[in-house]
Amino acid sequence: MVRKSLLFDKDECIGCFACEVACKQEHNIPTGEYWIRIFKVGPTSVHGKLIMHFAAIRCMHCGIPSCMKVCPVGAISKRSDGIVLFNEELCIGCKACIEACPFGAPQYNSEKDIVQACNLCFERVDKDLVPSCVHHCPTNALYFGDCNILTSKRIGKRAREGLNLESDCLETRIQFNSDKLPEEISINSTSEDKKTHDVQLFQILKDGSELKRRDK
């Protein structure tokens, strides 16, 4: 089986919210609940230069999902292709998974009294389609496909521009069937400017649930 992977490229993300609303439509998600969410980092002045980035936070479909470990009723499972699924029938709404997740990904649905999260549009994926957020992303900041092809494709592009893919753009890569936790996969930096910034991004990844978008 081809190992599939989803890549988020913060350099290409323009913060347009298409992924958020595409997800809402695909899964009919009520307001206040987000299976994928755009956070703005900055603008902030780094060595006299303004910098701003976006991070798309969602279930990372971790190699060893900490949510799965704490679920008392076994409602969370991991498919052989790596997709983590929340079973609505089994969930008792105890929110233990929300506490356990380092990304703030699981979302409590008060109407149904259950917790839900990104299922990577598995119904689409099973039909060889890409998830809705990826389909609607205008800049290909969200990329879905064969992990190896994706990586080499991206590296090729970046290499021409003199950038190092591994350190420059893979900060929230989801890798199925990986033994590593996302934290271990993600952050690196090349220059001082980027370092300050990436540390912030990393903080968001870790405390996603606590980061407030304006007026929320």
Partner: protein
Amino acid sequence: MVVQSKILKKENTDIRVVKTFCDRCHCECGVLVYVQNGKAVKIEGDPDCPINEGSLCPKGLAAIRFVYHSDRIKCPMKRSGQRGKGKWKRISWDEALDTVATRFKEILEKYGPESITWSWGDASAHCHLITKQGWLCAMKAPNHLHSDAHYCFHPVMIANKLTFGEVLTSEGSPDYKNSKCIMLWGGNPIMSHPVAARNIMIGRRNGAKLIVVDPRFTEIAAKADIFLQPRPATDDALALGILNVIINEDLYDKEFVARWCVGFDELRNRVQEYPLERVSEITWISKEKIIQAAKMYATNRPGTTHTRMGTVMNTNAIQTVRAINIIPAICGDLDVKGGHIIPSKPPGFKGRREIMDKDLRQSPEIENKRIGAKEFPLLCSSDSLAHNNSHPPSVIHTMLTGKPYPIRALWACNNLFLALEGAKETKEALMSLDFVVGSDFFMTPTMELCDFILPPCGYLAREEVLEPFCTCNFIGARRKAIEPEFDTRDEREITYEVIKRMGLTFPTDWDSIEKQNDMRVKGMGITFEEFKKKGYIIEPIRYKKYEEKGFNTPSGKVELYSSMMKRFGYDPLPYYQESPETPISAPELAQDYPLILITGGRHIVYFHGANKQIPWLREIVPYPTLQIHPDTAAELGIKDGDWVWIEAPKGRGRVKMKAELTEAVHPKVVHAPSHWWYPEIKGPEHGCWDSNINAILLNDPPYDPICGATPLRGNLCKVYKVREGENG
């Protein structure tokens, strides 16, 4: 893009997929509409459409929640109480159309054709623009209250036509994907024109340098190689400074200038008046940065220079856009791959502009009666370069004063109070009219003031020809996915019916929707039905077309020194002029009102005043936010998320918004978004005075001398916290 080989069509075989085009903004992306039992159930981006290649913005995606929204105006209505009291009664289409036609006819006979006008808005597609223009022609009525005629697309069009004879610096023309340097000026296409933003990002990925000029550090500025943050409303000086560098350092395209431009020596003399020390002092941008940007642009050829609303919402609009236009002109970036393409449509196709500029013109006697024709001939008269518009602020004044003639009736197809500066006066003007008809999707504050409402259907129920704003040489066919929602009708049908019931004859032979659609493509030797089967047609791009016939200007060349402007008594060369209400032009006022206010920045989830009632979108931007620098906010004791008053000088009043502390703006500058109203607040006003920035901006002079633009970006204000329990 991961290639989409299949369309999601679950096991339900009763689902039909209709390929059509979105119209929730002017980008008009290709969409797939999933229809089940006659109802639209899902809207996706069409992967086969070259405009968007499957992507779709939040507005387009949330359109599924717009179509059957419970607050839609569902049937024709007539007011049952006093005007503006919010009491309505359902009536039949026949009764509505008959009464509306009779009332218009009475006013036409009593006050003459000048007394009736209409306002175009987002509820009406471009096809309605030509239908309503036909209505005006049938009445011999000159006035169209196109509420942004003086400061949105039209000034860019006028400045472009004066310089190049074509529209070249707005969305469709710049060839972003192949450009080597993209200079964006006074706009954030990520929020305003998603398709342009997408193309810019593709260009950037292909190696283009990006220069962004904006008083705000926007989403697109975050992607820029160089970000220039000028003092608001000094873009004219900055452009002249950049020209100074390009000309004095010999970085321009000498061959192109010698062969295809007129007035270069005069321009060279003019830019000497703008040495970089002076420009730097005016604009707050360092000399080094101006040089860096000028060199980056001139040495990465071909480049594109995109001008948007930030450059035209001031009293030196046309000269500002002209100054910016001249940058790509002298660099030779016109009609070349990666530069500014002169658009062309498939041969035989009847374009919207051709219809407005040629087919639906009236006699000069009628056109020169248009409000603004005398004051702003290049906008409003029979010599106009942006045909068939009245000067909006003057129309509002005329409604109230009756001078030079009475205007007594309006067909409002937009949310005028939110869209037009001088909102309070606009409301007063509407209330003073004898008759107001409305056509809109929701009960907006403007619709609440109408006598009758004739509700239009949404885009899913329409069939028409479209010319997307951001895609060069593209024409498409919108297909009908559903029958009109509720008891609504295609707005063109409504207009044709009113014309008929008024006893008037449509001025051309395309007097029905079917005939109109056929007329657009007839010259191409096909019917609309055949065009619909194709879906869209792209005319192949040809370069350097000017080598065949020259440019469409009086001299046949690019007019750096404009002969038209000279003829009309304007300065033929661009210059800098300080805006009327800044710390420099009004220092005394600035003592009490120390902050510079810019207004009207967009957000992608809204399109002008639309979409505030769609929860999926509203939760992304639930409140209007005033962008203010953290240092300034700290001095004023304002914390992030506090409600604050924005007060304008000279008794213009105040509105409130939530403070967003951000380094995106200079400490002396604040930014307020426009078009804010609250559909959830009870009518008839729906909170339209709480946060509507247009309520504290004036529609009085001074205007731009050429297009009549008002100063909306770069005025003075003060900001302070809203106290508990305090109301506007």
